[in-house]
Symmetry: D2
């Protein structure tokens, strides 16, 4: 399971349209844009101006989902299996990085 | 299921250490860094210099996983349920944006 | 000369207000946001959808200026002299990187 | 003067080589990468781990210069005059945004 559902949701949505996935550099540009929108939300909530109530997580959550959608577009367009990539990363963290931080 | 496993993997890894989750703006800074590393990989493979073989997806996949790890840190630290955020976004896409692109 | 005028313009503008410069991580968050807005403009003009006329440079120019403004905030808040940093970088390019690319 | 010198330095450096300026989306990808490197430096110095001495501004300054270099590549490749863009932005700040913050 894991990321399979998200990758399949994106594939089903994109495959309805004639446009298809964008080329990789255009997806990176979109990712930069979406990352920027998430940064703005987080800065509004937790930054020096802190105008937002501490209860409003919804907009931050929305922006995280948009970033993941863009990452799924890149993964799908290149035939990348995110569950496999995730397990490989967690494996590396559990071995290589195990001693980098102070344990409880 | 969906993102639950990834969020749990991150929680288990972080909770081993005394440091805990970083404050939101520090996580955004890390996200900017990880997004930059993904951009570099994609530019190396698909950009104007194209030094990399078209078969090497592994490094792009690794960098995507690192970005998702950072997003899970932000979500976990703020009590955000990514499955919920994802379903909300997909629902919006399926309704509001349904007519934005040319259908097949 | 060089960047002195830009740094001074920013200093004069910021020093009018009680708020002052943001802390470094908040400026990075803003920088991520502004970089994202520039990415969006460039993707609109040069990306796969290319809705914009090839004559419209104004919006890209505006977004570049916004990114530089944010960089000047970071530099000013940390007492960084951008002319000095620029000369150091150009010097490094002219020596270390001189043989990295094919000369005309 | 202002940004003219920086734009000219970049033009002289790039024009030595056969490669020329990259296409806009590849420059954005590089910009995302350079912004990420700046974010890492700032997070190292001012973030939760703060391993770096508070005296080390040099690396942050280096990374800011790298970001500006990339912005000059984008501007030069599109015939954008950064001094003009800067003045237009400062003019807008001085008029439109004049009342947005609390004056001293």
């Amino acid at each position: 399971m894991g990321f399979k559902k998200a990758q399949k949701d994106v594939e089903e949505w994109v495959s309805q349209y004639t446009e298809g996935y964008w080329p990789p550099l255009a997806i990176i540009s979109r990712l930069t844009e979406e990352t920027g929108e998430l940064a703005r939300e987080v800065n509004h909530r937790f930054g020096p101006k802190k105008k937002k109530s501490t209860e409003e997580n919804a907009e931050v959550a929305d922006e995280i989902a948009d970033v993941i959608f863009t990452l799924c577009c890149l993964a799908n367009s290149q035939g990348i299996d995110l569950d496999e990539a995730w397990e490989k990363m967690m494996q590396k963290l559990r071995t290589r990085d195990d001693k980098r931080f102070e344990k409880k």
